[in-house]
């Protein structure tokens, strides 16, 4: 179900601009790893290299290795489409397919992967919506468009859509930054439940959120604007927030810059 991610010597570029430089880290299975750091430090870019979404951007390219258990995602002959079916992603702004109903939104990924019987599809959609704590709110209007839900519900719909295909890893790119505090809380609770089944990586600007939801935290920083972002350190969340081993981390966390 959940796999370990092992990144070594990874750099990502936009055209000739190097966005992140030589990152190596391990992400443990069935845990939540949070990426924090100032804007522009490349944490979102790094996240997008983990499911090969970075190269979708014109000029985007990647050097280095990302091992998912014992398979290199950037190995020759690896299909990026197949990678993205294994590594799911939730975006900053909720992006349900506007023309699809709630049901079809959740079923979208399944329909890409193959043919299911109607009853199977119904079961998986119900299970996924329950998994995303959304079932009770939408079970009476599965045929209504997903864009009619509130922002927080839409984001949980996107999570349901992502977990419906049973990915190995779930990447979340600031999933709460467009949401109100109550919806944020609902998502954070959900993350706590989902880590029983998935490997979760979350990018967040909210340090309290990182402290609340994550088991391990990685701090990214950049030397100056225009310089590539680097991984400063990754450690147990508790240690990062109480007694980090690098001074820059402590400065950032205590609000002395960034």
């Amino acid at each position: 179900m959940a796999k370990r991610i092992d990144v070594s010597g990874l750099s990502a570029y936009y055209g000739s601009h190097k966005a992140i430089d030589d990152i190596s880290m391990t992400v443990e299975p069935r845990s939540v790893t949070a990426f924090i750091g100032p804007s522009g430090c490349g944490k979102s870019t790094f996240l997008r290299t983990l499911n090969r979404m970075h190269e979708v951007t014109p000029g985007g390219r990647v050097e280095g290795k990302v091992m998912l258990d014992d398979e290199n995602l950037y190995g020759s002959g690896v299909d990026p489409v197949a990678v993205r079916r294994t590594v799911g992603m939730v975006f900053q702004r909720p992006n349900p397919f506007p023309t699809m109903s709630i049901f079809d939104n959740v079923a979208a990924g399944l329909r890409l992967n193959g043919s299911y019987k109607k009853s199977e599809l119904k079961d998986i959609v119900e299970r996924s919506l329950k998994g995303a704590n959304l079932w009770n709110e939408v079970k009476d209007r599965l045929n209504k468009p997903g864009s009619g839900l509130s922002g927080g519900q839409q984001q949980r719909l996107c999570i349901a859509r992502a977990i419906a295909v049973e990915p190995q890893v779930l990447l979340m790119d600031e999933p709460c930054s467009a949401l109100d505090p109550i919806s944020t809380l609902a998502i954070e609770d959900l993350i706590g439940e989902l880590k029983e089944r998935f490997t979760i990586v979350i990018v967040t600007h909210n340090m309290q959120q990182a402290a609340r939801v994550s088991d391990r935290t990685a701090f990214f920083n950049l030397a100056a604007v225009g310089q590539p972002g680097k991984l400063v350190e990754i450690d147990e969340t508790e240690r990062i927030f109480s007694n980090p081993s690098v001074q820059a981390t402590e400065d950032y966390i205590s609000g002395r810059f960034g």
């Binding site: 499911n51 979404m53 979708v56 014109p58 489409v81 197949a82 990678v83 993205r84 079916r85 294994t86 799911g88 992603m89 975006f91 702004r93 992006n95 349900p96 397919f97 506007p98 023309t99 699809m100 979208a108 990924g109 890409l112 992967n113 468009p145 864009s147 009619g148 839409q154 996107c158 859509r161 992502a162 295909v165």
Partner: protein
């Protein structure tokens, strides 16, 4: 700066009027001029529309009251002499059929080209390609007509014989030989003529698909075609409809190209490949110069019908777009 005589104060002072400084109307000359200009333009537009409608209706009524046959079903156009008999059945059939053929050919091709430009072609290719497509729109219709008559017509008889061999049994595609100056040829020509407008409007819509919708599909493991099917086409649906309607509007009203290619006759021929038939615009253009006063009225009446058909087509398109609004993505 010219100051109207009513406001003789220096510019920084508030305009003089009775009552307190904040209540009442403080109209500045610039506002007044622009209000007058824009209101005048609006009224002029309505007045021109009304004048056209009154003119068309008045002359049409004159023609219809003199028509000795049923205006809608008669298969003839004889609007002179003491016993005028004319009807629009042939024209309505020819106009709708040729436009339908044009739409069936042009819309899928145009959507394909637009998708290629917006989502498949490398940037180096998509810019010149868009330019060439837009250039097609700038070619005058008489040029299309000449090309159609001198190149397309002689080269289509081979295709038509082939269609006759395999699909002749349908009745629609039977072909008796001879010059291919038929409604189907007109449809092909119209398809080429409306291709640019449908393509460029669709392309613009496809380029506006929000990145986050495409990424939603990509992140689920969609291939490029699946991204297009899940995100791009649904988002662009109303745009494709609008684009098609723009094209259809042009096809319905196209005059010179049709008149140059078609060999007209007042018969409804179920075989689209055989010469004959006619369209509203082509009929008006070819008969107007030789028509007497009453003949002109009769042609104007047919023009009014074309106008109504165009209105109906546009209304239907708007209805389709409005009904899809709930799903349009505007709320997302």
């Amino acid at each position: 700066m010219k100051t109207p005589s009513s406001t003789t104060d220096l510019p920084p002072l508030p305009p003089q009027h009775d009552g307190s400084a904040v209540s009442g109307k403080a109209v500045r000359p610039g506002d007044r001029i622009f209000l007058g200009l824009s209101r005048g333009s609006g009224i002029a537009l309505l007045a021109i529309m009304a004048a056209i409608a009154v003119f068309l209706t008045y002359r049409s009524v004159l023609a219809l009251s003199g028509d000795k046959a049923n205006f809608f079903t008669t298969l003839d156009w004889n609007a002179s002499g003491t016993d005028p008999k004319f009807g629009i059945a042939v024209l309505a059939f020819g106009t709708l059929v040729s436009s339908l053929v044009a739409m069936l050919i042009a819309v899928p091709v145009a959507v394909g080209i637009a998708l290629f430009i917006s989502h498949y072609a490398p940037r180096k290719l998509s810019a010149p390609l868009s330019y060439v497509i837009d250039l097609l729109a700038a070619v005058p219709s008489i040029i299309y007509g000449l090309w159609g008559a001198l190149f397309l017509v002689p080269h289509l008889s081979g295709l038509y014989s082939w269609l006759d061999d395999y699909l002749g049994w349908t009745g629609i595609f039977s072909y008796g030989g001879g010059a291919a100056r038929s409604l189907f040829t007109v449809g092909i020509l119209l398809a080429i003529m409306i291709l640019p407008i449908v393509t460029s409007v669709s392309r613009e819509v496809f380029l506006q698909v929000p990145k986050m919708h495409e990424e939603a599909a990509l992140a689920l493991g969609a291939t490029r075609w699946e991204v297009i099917r899940m995100s791009v086409l649904p988002f662009g649906r109303s745009g494709i409809i609008s684009a098609s309607m723009l094209g259809l509007g042009r096809a319905l009203g196209e005059t010179m190209a049709v008149a140059t290619v078609l060999s007209p006759s007042f018969l409804i021929n179920t075989s689209l490949l055989d010469p004959g038939g006619g369209t509203f615009a082509q009929n008006i253009a070819s008969k107007f110069s030789e028509a007497d006063q009453f003949g002109q009225d009769a042609l104007i009446a047919s023009g009014l019908v074309l106008f109504v058909i165009t209105l109906l087509v546009n209304g239907a398109a708007r209805l389709i777009i409005a009904r899809r609004k709930e799903y349009s993505g505007a709320a997302a």
